[in-house]
């Protein structure tokens, strides 16, 4: 009973800042001018938001794939016994994390812009300037840069739990390095990959800051649409309906994650 009592401030906090706003979103989504209406929900499934949603999912998908490709070897490096290299790489991944998310993204915008360091360099060797900022590529770069640690952490956590004896056992039974990886290491780190995917894919699919700072303004992402409804158009009802769509999608991916991630490694990080 005493322990429950200790949890009460947190429960109150959650009620006020998570549960109540959720209920408000549901209320707004299904009302218009104070009376019940599904109009906003229907609109949320219309062509414009759906195009933005698919675009968001597509960009998030690409970013997630890149994060796996970059993050898995990095996680493996972190698990290697070579301590010198390990601490260096850890620092390299951690230092950007100490900076504010928006600052980091701004920094990339500065690097990529027309007068930025890359274009300055290109000009100095006589090449024409490239349009790097305000492209889909820039948005994906921003997503990968910001969310990569969230891929590395769960993969690293599941890799480091693999008993080195299992690797030796596989070698002993005739598996070369490639086979050890495909038959033992990869399957055993699968829960980490699944956690990593959800931890990168979900925020990437709903981001608006990265695309606003670095993206092509003519084509909105879903997160930007939600933000716009609340912040510039003050259409709380439609914004809530859009949010609800996104929320449903997140719950779906959480459910998928729980199915694969039996040990709850990702849940611990969320």
């Amino acid at each position: 009973m005493k322990r429950k009592f200790l949890a009460s401030p947190y429960i109150v906090w959650m009620m006020i800042f998570i549960v109540v706003p959720m209920l408000m979103i549901v209320y707004y989504a299904f009302t218009q001018d104070g009376s019940f209406s599904v109009e906003n929900m229907v609109r949320a499934f219309g062509e414009l938001p759906m195009t933005a949603l698919w675009r968001s999912l597509y960009m998030a998908f690409i970013s997630t794939v890149i994060c796996i490709i970059l993050g898995y070897p990095a996680a493996m490096c972190l698990c290697s016994k070579n301590l010198k290299r390990k601490s260096l790489i850890l620092v390299l991944y951690m230092v950007p994390m100490w900076m504010n998310f928006l600052l980091r993204t701004y920094a990339w915008a500065v690097i990529l812009e027309r007068t930025g360091i890359i274009n300055t360099f290109l000009a100095s060797v006589g090449l024409p300037p490239q349009k790097l900022l305000y492209t889909d590529g820039a948005v994906i770069l921003g997503m990968v840069y910001n969310f990569l640690p969230f891929m590395i952490m769960p993969i690293h956590s599941s890799l480091s739990k693999i008993d080195p004896m299992l690797i030796e056992a596989a070698e002993d039974l005739g598996a070369n390095r490639a086979r050890v990886f495909t038959r033992v290491t990869l399957p055993l780190s699968f829960p980490g990959i699944v956690s990593g995917i959800t931890m990168v894919f979900m925020p990437a699919a709903s981001t608006f800051a990265i695309s606003q700072l670095m993206g092509n303004n003519t084509q909105q992402l879903f997160g930007e649409m939600v933000e716009q409804q609340f912040r510039t158009l003050y259409n709380y009802n439609y914004g809530s309906a859009l949010s609800l769509v996104l929320l449903a999608l997140m719950l779906l991916s959480m459910a998928i994650m729980r199915k694969f991630d039996k040990n709850g490694e990702g849940a611990a990080l969320l």
């Binding site: 596989a170 070698e171 038959r183």
Partner: protein, 372 residues
């Protein structure tokens, strides 16, 4: 029974893990014959597991060669060696069921599916797990997991099966049962077994040959009988069984003095008169003070089940440990008799490799604590 041909030859092996001159193995020379059951016995840190890992290919010796059937395999990676290991903590793949664990090596070797089914099933029958094929490995008991680990290694029909303290995690009763089973498998399968343990009883009951190791150095190689009856030095005598080891002087061949008394014995002795004398507690007879060779007073009697362990202090102050089935009163004056063949003479430690007695005892106790 082992054949005469050498299957494995370890020649002049040195291992220096950290490269700092501290040797895990020093000048190790050992051959293993076909069909032999060899046990590497010693306390923790004696180099027995390192020796096994060298044969498995997981440790590359700093110096020396490893030969299999005469072919130099020193630089061959583990996955290419026709050798399989049963690991101490089983190391079963948690992402596969029992069947797939056993089938692992065959799948890697791309054996046809039909043959895999047959061979795995046969192996599961052999280890008494025929109905457990589709179980996840973590649902099995320790003993069952151990059987899976053995089946997984044996299914590949290796030339040599390496067993790294395979029964260490099992309780005593299960350990006895598995010892029997392993002996039976060794007999029926005709595969060479190299077995690592710190349990001298296990080594004695199972092996054709016992290799006693300490501090990275082989102390003695021999049959269990040799090792028990003719220990080459104090370490072996002490590690193999409880013995009284005391300093003695060879006055002439077949006559040795210890505890202030001259005894006839069956050993000739060595270049120097100073020797170590081993007397096993069961080789000492208690009799009347007049009939005894040593006069002693009984200090303590401990009931051990089949026998009593009696501590008796001799006139010279040496505390003898005696195993006897009779009951004796504490404080009683008695005589002790030791027959010539109950006395074993050993060379005194001369090199630094063979440690003085006190250190041996300290290490032995440490080792037992660590590993049990």
């Amino acid at each position: 029974m082992p054949k005469d041909t050498h299957l494995i030859d370890l020649n002049d092996i040195y291992v220096d893990y950290a490269g700092d001159g501290v040797l895990a193995l020093e000048n190790l020379n050992l051959y293993i014959r076909e069909n032999e059951f060899v046990t590497l016995l010693g306390p923790s840190g004696c180099g027995k597991s390192t020796t096994l890992r060298i044969i498995g290919g997981f440790v590359k010796p700093t110096q020396g060669t490893v030969r299999l059937n005469g072919e130099d395999i020193t630089d061959m990676p583990p996955h290419k060696r026709p050798v399989n290991t049963v690991f101490q903590k089983y190391a079963l793949f948690p992402n596969m069921d029992v069947f797939e664990n056993v089938a692992f090596g065959l799948r890697i070797a791309k054996v046809p599916e039909k043959e895999i089914r047959e061979r795995v099933q046969k192996m599961l029958d052999l280890v008494g797990l025929s109905k457990y094929g589709d179980r996840p490995v973590d649902s099995l008991s320790g003993g069952q997991q151990q059987r899976v680990a053995i089946a997984r290694a044996l299914v590949n029909e290796p030339k040599v099966l390496l067993l790294d303290e395979p029964l260490g995690a099992l309780d005593l009763k299960m350990r006895r049962g598995m010892q029997e089973e392993l002996k039976r498998m060794h007999k029926t399968l005709g595969i060479t077994f190299v077995y690592v343990t710190h349990d001298q009883e296990e080594a004695m009951t199972m092996s054709d040959t016992v290799v006693v190791m300490n501090d990275g150095i082989i102390q003695q190689i021999g049959t269990p009988q040799d090792i028990y009856n003719e220990p080459k030095n104090a370490f072996v005598a002490n590690f193999i069984g409880e013995s009284d080891i005391l300093p003695g002087i060879m006055h002439e061949p077949y006559l040795v003095e210890f505890d202030g008394v001259k005894f006839p014995c069956v050993d000739k002795g060595f270049e120097t008169p100073e020797v170590d004398v081993v007397v096993r507690p069961e080789d000492i007879k208690i009799t009347t003070p007049e009939a005894g060779m040593i006069r002693a007073t009984i200090e303590e009697v401990t009931f051990m089940g089949i026998h009593n362990v009696i501590l008796a202090r001799s006139e010279n102050g040496y505390l003898w440990r005696i195993k006897d089935t009779g009951s004796w009163e504490e404080g009683k004056a008695v005589g002790l008799v030791i027959e010539p063949d109950g006395i074993h003479i050993m060379r005194k430690p001369v090199s630094e490799d063979e440690m003085p007695l006190e250190e041996v005892e300290a290490i032995e106790e440490e080792g037992m604590e660590d590993e049990t």
